[in-house]
């Protein structure tokens, strides 16, 4: 089987989530990568270092600068003439493009796979991860998104793929990038962090989030996450959200502070290796999944913790 992996990047470097999708693709067969971008030669060279990759296809055109699905999908549909499968990381951009490709190929996409059971058989979470379905496809071509926490990341170097330019399908002229507000942070990225400190509604304000959660996270070198309730209340931006519809994380240690543990939140973090919960309600559902639980007032416990670290 020849698989194509769409590479997520910012025209400067390959995003980590791609590496898990490459691991999944290597289980299916021979792997080519697609780097579609604007001035993305550096990304292509970097991608060519990933071991196991045969070819890096590069479509360098202003139309691909911002990864607009309207422009990228036709390019992938064209490249699928020579490939049997295409895989995307389950990131917001991957999830935006993949179904547009699937419909273009008249294929039913398999979303967010957790494992590959055979060339046409995969497991995937449904109902916020409260059930795991094994599905087999009847389609001739595969369109797949890959859950980043379910596959090891491929190594970033050691390979020597050939870099092959492919023609652009051009700007489809129906959508235009206007602006982006991308948070700049010195902290590790949520989806690849080994350690996460997450806060919930019990923090009561954005100010408390900054003075209580963030210092502990920085002391531990952790990423900062949040429950939907904390994001909805405006304490932190949307990109902090961990859960069914937010980010799916699986760090070594997840420290949940003032998070009750709604199933939608658990869906995003219950594959963490160790879960630590601090909550004043001893009946909070988070304690049913926590390896280490501390019943107490976060406003007292967390500053104490900070003092002792």
């Amino acid at each position: 089987m020849r698989a194509l992996v769409w590479v997520e990047h910012d025209n400067k470097s390959v995003k980590d989530a791609t590496l898990a999708a490459i691991t999944a693709a290597l289980q299916l067969g021979e792997v080519d990568l697609l780097v579609a971008g604007d001035g993305c030669a550096g990304v292509a060279d970097q991608a060519a270092q990933i071991p196991g990759v045969v070819r890096v296809l590069v479509a360098d055109d202003a139309a691909y600068a911002h990864g607009l699905a309207e422009n990228v999908a036709p390019l992938i549909v064209a490249l699928m003439a020579d490939h049997d499968a295409v895989l995307f990381p389950s990131t917001t951009t991957g999830k935006n493009i993949a179904p547009r490709v699937a419909a273009g190929l008249d294929v039913m996409q398999i979303s967010d796979i957790l494992s590959i059971e055979g060339p046409d058989t995969f497991t995937r979470p449904i109902y916020a991860g409260n059930a795991i379905a094994t599905v087999q496809t009847r389609d001739a071509k595969l369109v797949i998104t890959v859950r980043g926490t379910a596959f090891e990341k491929a190594a970033a170097s050691g390979g020597s793929a050939s870099v092959v330019p492919v023609p652009s399908e051009g700007d489809q002229g129906m959508s235009r990038f206007v602006s982006a507000e991308i948070a700049q942070s010195e902290r590790p990225e949520l989806t690849s962090a080994k350690l996460i400190v997450s806060g919930g509604r019990a923090l009561q304000s954005g100010e408390n989030f900054r003075t209580i959660i963030e210092p502990v996270a920085d002391k531990l070198g952790a990423a900062v996450g949040a429950s939907r309730a904390a994001v909805d209340a405006g304490y932190v931006p949307n990109d902090y959200q961990v859960g069914q519809t937010g980010k799916i994380v699986a760090p070594e240690v997840y420290i949940a502070v003032g998070i009750s543990g709604a199933i939608q939140h658990l869906a995003g973090m219950k594959d963490s290796k160790t879960i630590v919960a601090i909550n004043k309600d001893e009946d909070a559902p988070i304690f049913q999944v926590a390896d280490i639980g501390l019943v107490g007032d976060l406003f007292k416990v967390v500053p104490e913790l900070m003092g002792k670290l």
Partner: protein
């Protein structure tokens, strides 16, 4: 401008799903069903555009069991949809099949905007809006936290991994909703009573002449590996000691 809002009837978001003992799926017998939460946000978005004078008519459509007419399509009308279309089927239709049916509905209704939930909370596919956009050759603004219609275009602010991104789409267009787009209003009892007189067009999947045969076969459905509760520690000292043991804290 007319707005089409496709909605899905799903297991109520407060109900914990139970996997059937024979591994064939999740048990939906005698459990509370409701409108997919993201679809409520989609209806609310359409209603607000109508209140602003941008939209002239809102049509809700669902593909599913006949009972949907008296629950989710009633809720949709009570929230502000002017009329509804029920495409009745007892079979589960996959996102690709749903998108094909919706493309036919779009052909008939000629909306300027289709607003959908970004995903249904049962199969968590997150596909239908993008697929519909592809089939129609329309632009798509997925995971929207802000929608602004002006002239022949819509500006959509999207929730993306690193923050927010704004795109400008030429109308007609597809928008899928994320959580922060709005807080949906409740369907009040008086509005539910009034909604009963708003028209529902009853159709069958066969009326549209598209192949909605499933492409995926579910071999089995199991519960995920469960986690069990661990230990309780008494205070911050004990917690720090555990974190040191794990090598997390120095």
């Amino acid at each position: 401008m007319k707005i089409l809002v496709p909605v899905k009837r799903v297991l109520d978001f407060n109900v914990k799903p139970r996997v059937k003992a024979d591994g064939s799926g999740v048990d939906l017998a005698n459990v509370k069903m409701g409108l997919n939460p993201f679809d409520e946000i989609a209806i609310e978005a359409a209603v607000r555009l109508k209140e602003q004078g941008t939209a002239s008519e809102i049509v809700a459509v669902t593909i599913g069991v006949a009972k949907a007419e008296s629950d989710v399509l009633l809720t949709a009308r009570a929230m502000g949809a002017d009329r509804a279309i029920l495409i009745a089927t007892d079979d589960a239709v996959e996102p690709l099949g749903v998108a094909k049916l919706l493309a036919k509905v779009v052909e008939e209704e000629q909306p300027g905007l289709v607003i959908l939930g970004k995903q249904a909370i049962d199969d968590d596919s997150n596909q239908t809006g993008q697929m519909l956009a592809a089939l129609l050759g329309w632009p798509q603004g997925t995971f929207a936290s802000r929608i602004e219609v002006g002239g022949d275009a819509v500006c959509v602010t999207r929730e993306v991994d690193g923050g927010l991104e704004t795109v400008r789409l030429t109308l007609p267009a597809i928008v899928t909703t994320d959580l922060r787009l709005n807080e949906p209003r409740y369907a009040t009892l008086p509005n539910i009573m009034k909604a009963k007189s708003k028209p529902v067009l009853r159709k069958a999947v066969a009326d549209y002449g598209v192949d909605v045969h499933p492409r995926l076969k579910t071999l089995k459905v199991v519960e995920p590996a469960s986690r069990s509760a661990g230990v309780r520690v008494a205070d911050a000292d004990a917690l720090v000691a555990r974190l040191r043991e794990m090598g997390v804290a120095k």
